[in-house]
Symmetry: C2
Subunit: 277 residues, 2 copies
């Protein structure tokens, strides 16, 4: 595999230094309550500060779930900005789990929001949704390529309702496989600009062998899959690109920052022992 | 058709009082420059204030495009909150064009953000994206039903890249038709809780006859379709539900509020003369 820079180099360096895990930052109302925090923008900000302190210095990748911040409007988004900046300053790569998707100049505005140089929400990668077609995501792919960042495109999710769209037949392959193939076509330069989201909780049926980009696999821990399931679930993929994500199963160890960090490190160690580099 | 309350009654009352048009509020950088405003959160806020003044009192429906606010982070979102509140206070229905989509508790958080009683972003309807399956949108549909609001689901868009997903075959019908059929199944109570987005710029090939919910049709004006094209494009639909949206073609009349309002009224009159109630 070529070493062509781009997001690929940044991702490999982070995983080499810190081990493999994407730690979700999901200030779900139930977690706020469990942590003794108010269900408010202020509570979300405090939750975010604890995550920055506990996870920022140890996780290779963190993944704030935008919806839980957005639920509190602009003060919630301000709290998210602090999480993104704080985790980035602490050396973690930040994947904004936003699942944005639009066309043309509107998609370009989302790209500026999540990847643009002057945005307070600027992250290292952003998840995007391809209902408007993979090609409609081009403004975000272009922005990511320019800035050594990545877009991570929804392909195949673990919720049962997803099949009606993702497994529909598009000229002899599934919609999900079509997304993977288009992502792979963008990654032939080795820069890893386009990743995919593939749920870790059920057999996905995808050929991921040519992808050369991040395979973000949510659902390890609380949602059902264990680290030990991963090698079989992603048998045909280049497993150095497999990035398992844990959210609830780590976060329920909070609010004590030391306990939260220990849970993150334990989850990472589980993944490291299950997967070869 | 039954008169069963819900969003349907609110929509019919707005259209009866003000005539049919959804006026887009898209603070695109080129428009900010044309209006002599800075390309910044402050410029977006000023753009929004002008739209509230000019469009809020006359448009039946306004549709702020979230991406153009989000591009400036939390101060941009704060500007959007002012647009939503200001247009609502002036009597317009507000459709937040957010195209959000996720699953489970994350989808529920988006539903709270855009439709929830305590959210500063609360709108009358929100656009959502069904790549994770129509069923994954249930938390938003439930929230909308509770509050006499609506979710408007992407079905068939006018960009050429959309076909790869939207026209894929899902058990003998297109993905897009499957979305329309699931929306229709939610609307049998006559409350109009679930609408669809269908681009007005090309033949969509959908059977919309049973929908009983809003058909939001962007692209009238600058993007190619004229009001006169609408009756043929939406021949099989109940045209009282057809809501054409114009953005650039109206907004380029700004920044003078009187000129902007006149352009909105002219676009509405074009639609009113082309469509029967």
């Amino acid at each position: 595999m070529t070493e062509a820079g781009g997001f690929a180099d940044r991702y490999r360096a982070a995983v080499a230094a810190r081990g493999r895990l994407c730690a979700g930052i999901d200030p779900h109302p139930e977690l706020l309550e469990q942590w003794g925090l108010p269900v408010s923008a202020q509570g979300v900000a405090q939750f975010g500060d604890i995550c920055v302190e506990a996870l920022g210095p140890v996780a290779a990748v963190v993944k704030p779930q935008v919806a839980f911040f957005e639920a509190f409007g602009s003060p919630g988004i301000a709290a998210l900005e602090r999480v993104i900046a704080g985790c980035g300053d602490a050396g973690a790569l930040v994947v904004a789990d936003a699942k944005r998707g639009d066309i043309g100049s509107t998609m370009a505005a989302y790209a500026r929001a999540w990847l643009g140089e002057h945005s307070p929400l600027r992250s290292d990668a952003v998840t995007v949704s391809p209902y408007l077609g993979f090609g409609a995501l081009a403004p975000a792919v272009d922005e990511a390529l320019r800035a050594d960042r990545a877009v991570i495109v929804l392909a195949r999710t673990s919720n049962p309702e997803g099949a009606a769209v993702q497994l529909a037949d598009a000229a002899g392959r599934t919609v999900a496989q079509g997304i993977v193939d288009e992502a792979a076509a963008h990654n032939t330069d080795g820069r890893g600009t386009v990743g995919v989201v593939v749920g870790a909780t059920r057999a996905h049926g995808l050929d991921l062998g040519a992808l050369r980009g991040v395979i973000l696999a949510p659902g390890v821990g609380a949602q059902g899959a264990t680290a030990a399931d991963l090698p079989e679930l992603f048998d045909g993929a280049d497993q150095q690109w497999l990035l398992p994500a844990s959210s609830r199963s780590v976060l329920r160890a909070g609010p004590d920052p030391a306990a939260l960090r220990a849970a993150c490190e334990a989850a990472r160690d589980d993944v490291e022992s299950a997967l070869k580099r």
